[in-house]
Symmetry: C2
Subunit: 218 residues, 2 copies
DNA sequence: ACATTATTTTAGTCTTGTCTAAAATAATAT
DNA sequence: ATATTATTTTAGACAAGACTAAAATAATGT
């Protein structure tokens, strides 16, 4: 149907256009895919020909409904594979991205349907990101940044905003994983750092951390 | 490391050089990969540069030890994925090939190691073909063609020589699956057809069928 | 409003892997 | 032994997807 390269562009645009009403810029896509703006312009023309995106010179791009369907399906596959890797093959959450990046391009509707069944129809991936259903719909959950909590509030850790290896390994080191209850014991006004309780441990975390951790308020 | 295309050439050569002492011909590779001889010549030069194969003009090719290692690893991955699809995702043995053909190119040593563990270190794929270990070694089992049995001999079905959809579906229809006990009740000399017993059923099968079915003599 | 800067596009090139058509070599038959 | 046929290789072309450098357009600052 589509090449891996085309799929990667669609996925990048899909992620970039979330919460933005303007078209996604050539440069933004180039940065996300670690390629050059000129390459993006080339590809964007092809995707436009195939009615996957709306493109007007110098105006940025946006996905058509068709493009959105294709893109969300790639994301669906990516996240289902991540669940598989963690749940069945004992990968840790910081190891799954690169492999899922390859697996998401495997073409077989039956494969994904059966994988979904095998995994028990998961709604979220190992980082707490929602898995689109076959029609691209996301199961939204109310989540807040940990940084938005005030003293004595608490919540369950439900996701991360930054899925980089470094950040995920940092969280592992601190014992912070999805499902854990976090309580804010103190909040420092001058730097936004938090003193939190998790399990029996108390620890201090910077604003940068709490800005990248989603919790569900209790 | 290597492109999917390179890997496909190595795999084709690997399969073609089994039981042959001469170099594998350009045409044979072209036929196997459904491509043109000229394309094969091009690729064969590249693989030769990379020391994966031995190639001399007009002489055909053969894998180096290095090439054999790479090739057997692709076959290993292909067959492990086939086991996964059948055992875990409820694919039937005639549905797995095309998907495994894609999955075999996923690059992640950990993925295969964990998959192997998850599947319980299988030694054979759903068609009875042996799965190479990390070093490319195959666990040989003594198997014979069903056509080699004589009247009143019997054996366990352990593999197929032809893995085409048509043949596999035919076997399904007749209730012939791996592990089944087959007894030869009659053998017709003039056309080699067999009258066999399998479970409580008796049926007649042509020489073409019995020439593509491996059994382990009892 | 216009000069400067940033972004985007165009033009031309490169690599990979394929193809066709023609030339070269090997195999086969008489 | 040589003519014929089959196989393989070469030469040149093409598409996809990337790149660089230069040109065009948009955005920004004073």
């Amino acid at each position: 149907m589509f090449t891996s390269s085309e799929e990667n562009y669609l996925k990048a645009i899909y992620h970039l256009e979330i919460g933005v009403d303007k078209g996604v810029s050539t440069n933004a896509i180039a940065e996300k895919l670690v390629t050059k703006a000129s390459s993006v312009t080339d590809m964007v023309k092809k995707l436009s020909e195939k009615e996957l995106i709306i493109y007007k010179k110098y105006q940025g791009v946006s996905l058509t409904n068709f493009g959105k369907k294709i893109a969300s399906n790639i994301v669906r596959k990516h996240r289902l594979w991540e669940v598989f890797l963690v749940e069945k093959l004992n990968f840790s959450w910081d190891e799954v991205h690169d492999v899922a990046e390859q697996l998401e391009h495997i073409k077989s509707p039956k494969l994904i349907q059966q994988l979904d069944l095998f995994l028990g129809f998961p709604t979220h991936d190992p980082h707490g990101d929602p898995i689109p259903d076959k029609d691209g719909n996301l199961k939204a959950i109310e989540k807040s940044l940990l940084s938005s909590l005030i003293k004595n509030e608490s919540g369950i850790c439900v996701g991360v905003n930054d899925s980089s290896k470094d950040f995920l390994q940092f969280l592992d080191k601190k014992g912070i994983t999805l499902g854990k209850l976090i309580t804010v014991l103190e909040k420092e006004d001058f730097d936004g750092s938090l003193f939190i309780q998790i399990d029996r441990k108390k620890l201090s975390i910077s604003n940068k951390i709490s800005n990248n951790l989603y919790i569900k308020k209790q």
